[in-house]
Symmetry: C2
Subunit: 459 residues, 2 copies
């Protein structure tokens, strides 16, 4: 299923476009005009111009072809608007308007779908924030940027059954410099649902990881097939809420989703290779690791750290998440012993795993320890912990860790603390290695690479 | 046990003070001189002045009384330095120097303790970052501020068996604007141990919550007694690492701690009312909530939200953490029904708990919903979720949520997203209500208030 016409329209009509500040049709126009370079046709019965662009009374008056209609008129008018879109040859309609099934008007929603089917129009929504393509700036989201920032263009796609939560996630991703490819606010999923978008994103070259916030899938069988096909190609991460009875009740009154038993979801995720996240932070820890590093070919993890305590915590986290602390080979131990004897490495360091290169470690010492760990055939993935509070640790670490990706084994970097580690983190990430703020975030990250690796390589 | 002399010295000698950039004795001098207003005497065999202050060859040459000695000379000299401190009448010595038990020199450490006991000197360390009192700027920590920021003065005390991790936590707390009262890097705990500091902090008026990073307690019985006595007065939160076999092994080679079975620790925590945290973020979620809000008198939680999805996730989190979603009273339901009928509240909101006041909620709508929830006798604590991405939500929320603390029930605020929510969060916190970035952080926060409340009130 190719939905490129929805994400890469050449021309867009905004039905319900408005000059009035605070109106949704005004905010949507502004969002689209901010970055999008395609043609934009405001549709408004009364106005001659909207935000400086010539306005049309109906989409039928637009002199040129329209690929996508973004609809923000009261619900009761939407079916007729769809008919006009159909006559105009529109391929996709993003229905922002609320007032359908979620407001007790299942009948109106059915009518909407009937009309769209008649014309072969595919629908996003209704009752949603629409789509945002971070690549070309096609952004239907009516939240203003001063309230909800947009992330930069990156490789993580995100779709959300909750518009408000989706908006919060975009805002959060922007602040944390997590790049996104495409965002879809699924809304009521009257036509296109999560499985359709998963299938589309499977073949989207700009997307390396697909992430979802879901309260319930629309069609179980369809989801299983889409998920199974897609995880062969790229990772799919799902934050499923409504896991408890109380949560499921809340979901029923929110999106009308039958949340179903979480055990069934867990089994389905396991069977199809989907990664189930338990929290918003975990969703993005998983996604960031998978977007930047290759999956692991085994579950034996090496840790290099300049702080013993962080090494202990990381060991706990790795074991508690079901992975293994790598048993370093005899050869590796001998390399460390030799270097200690030759005073290239300090006497009181530990080369049991975690490899504790102690508090006064400069980046050259990191380089040796990281390299020995990666060269060890017993090591499948490396976690590097750097407590940058120690002034002994110089900025050479940035290039050194980037260069060690040549071994082809996944590397995760953990740098707890404040401003300085955060600056270093952004620099290290430019070299391709993802950096996490806490030990527990780092555990999530390496878990994702091992879990997806197990699905791909079957160890 | 009153250790005020260690945290509030009138005069300090820095033994090993240095003019040489990069030397620990230079960094410590700078740290102390940055804010501390007491007298500072640098001790250096060769120099006449250190950083502009008159230097003395020995502490015995200092013309006035010295309360605390901060010692940063090579380990082998430390026992003799302690003798000199004893002759001088010093009460406390902070031994920064490494090279004792952790380096295979248990004998030297025993000698150090023997000398200190002889003179009645209490020791912090050795092999530590010393103490930092955020109230008076007495700060022995040798990490420079550009690498490791110091948090502002607040009410959370923190002690750490790992110096490097402690430093990362201080840096992290500064960035996240978490205020601290006192920090202790415990080091080898040759003399003063975690239980001594817990007992001291129990009576410290500046500390509302005591937090610890521990790999193993030094004396189990002593810890049990200190913990039990202290949790009657204020909360104690412990992040215990070495929970797994691999973690315990790593701890043994790091601090030499016998980590022991975590099940035993868990039982001890349960019995004494200590809150066990599983991660760094959880430690501070617990601490921040407990520092700012009263403990809950029951486990029935109300949720007010402008986003349905976040309400579903919060419901899951509350149930999964062993708390209850409050069943609102008939009276409360009638109040909501009446207001909806009178169009004070919107038709499509939900007043089942979670109370979903939907995406276009202004602060006045929040005020009604929060108030009705807090007035309900079936509600023990309130979680407010605000998705500030919605431009409908005005800044009036800041004062409204602060005012509702008059009901005496704990309130936790969750504001996911980026820059704007963060700015609002800091303003809301000035009014006394703690704000968290994610749903899962908010779950931690309310859990801490319920868990500690259960210990205090026994529901």
């Amino acid at each position: 299923m190719n939905l490129d016409f929805l994400f890469y329209p050449r021309s867009v009509a905004v039905i319900g476009a408005s000059n009035k500040e605070g109106k949704i049709g005004n905010s949507i126009m502004k969002s689209i005009l901010r970055e999008f370079n395609g043609k934009v046709y405001p549709i408004n019965i009364k106005e001659k111009e909207v935000l400086g662009l010539k306005a049309y009374k109906s989409i039928l008056d637009v002199p040129e072809k329209v690929d996508v209609a973004v609809i923000a008129v009261p619900a009761k008018f939407v079916p007729d608007v769809i008919d006009q879109c159909g006559q105009k040859g529109v391929k996709g309609a993003v229905v922002i308007s609320a007032g359908f099934k979620e407001a007790g008007r299942a009948d109106l929603e059915e009518e909407l779908v009937r009309r769209a089917r008649k014309w072969g129009i595919r629908l996003v929504g209704p009752n949603c924030l629409g789509v945002t393509n971070l690549e070309n700036g096609f952004d239907c989201n009516f939240n203003p940027p001063e309230r909800q920032a947009r992330p930069h263009f990156g490789t993580i796609a995100f779709m959300s059954q909750s518009g408000a939560f989706g908006a919060a996630i975009l805002d959060w991703a922007a602040k944390h410099e997590v790049g996104m490819s495409k965002f879809v606010s699924l809304g009521n999923m009257a036509d296109l649902d999560e499985s359709d978008f998963i299938e589309y994103l499977k073949d989207d070259e700009k997307t390396r990881v697909i992430t979802l916030y879901l309260e319930g899938v629309k069609d179980g069988k369809k989801f299983l097939k889409a998920a199974k096909d897609t995880t062969k190609v790229k990772p799919v991460v799902v934050l499923k809420s409504g896991r408890t009875e109380a949560g499921a009740k809340a979901a029923a009154s929110h999106t009308g989703s039958l949340a179903g038993s979480y055990a069934i979801y867990e089994a389905a995720f396991e069977q199809t290779g989907v990664l189930g996240a338990r929290s918003m932070r975990q969703l993005f820890n998983f996604a960031k690791a998978l977007a930047m590093q290759p999956p692991a070919k085994g579950d034996r993890i090496a840790i290099v750290t300049n702080g013993g305590g962080a090494g202990v915590m990381m060991s706990d986290g790795i074991i508690e998440a079901g992975m293994k602390i790598a048993e370093l080979s005899e050869e590796t131990k001998q390399k460390f012993e030799r270097d200690i004897k030759e005073k290239k490495l300090p006497e009181h360091m530990s080369y049991k795993n975690p490899i504790d290169i102690i508090g006064d470690a400069p980046s050259t010492r990191y380089e040796i320890a990281m390299r020995y760990a990666l060269e060890d055939p017993n090591v499948d993935a490396l976690v590097v912990i750097a407590l940058f509070q120690s002034p002994a640790l110089d900025e050479g670490i940035v290039e050194k860790v980037a260069a060690l990706q040549k071994y082809g084994k996944p590397i995760i970097f953990v740098a707890p603390g404040g401003e300085y580690p955060e600056r270093m983190a952004r620099r290290i990430e430019k070299g391709g290695v993802p950096v996490f703020e806490t030990v527990e975030d780092g555990v999530d990250a390496v878990y994702a690479l091992v879990k997806y690796g197990r699905h791909i390589y079957g160890f």
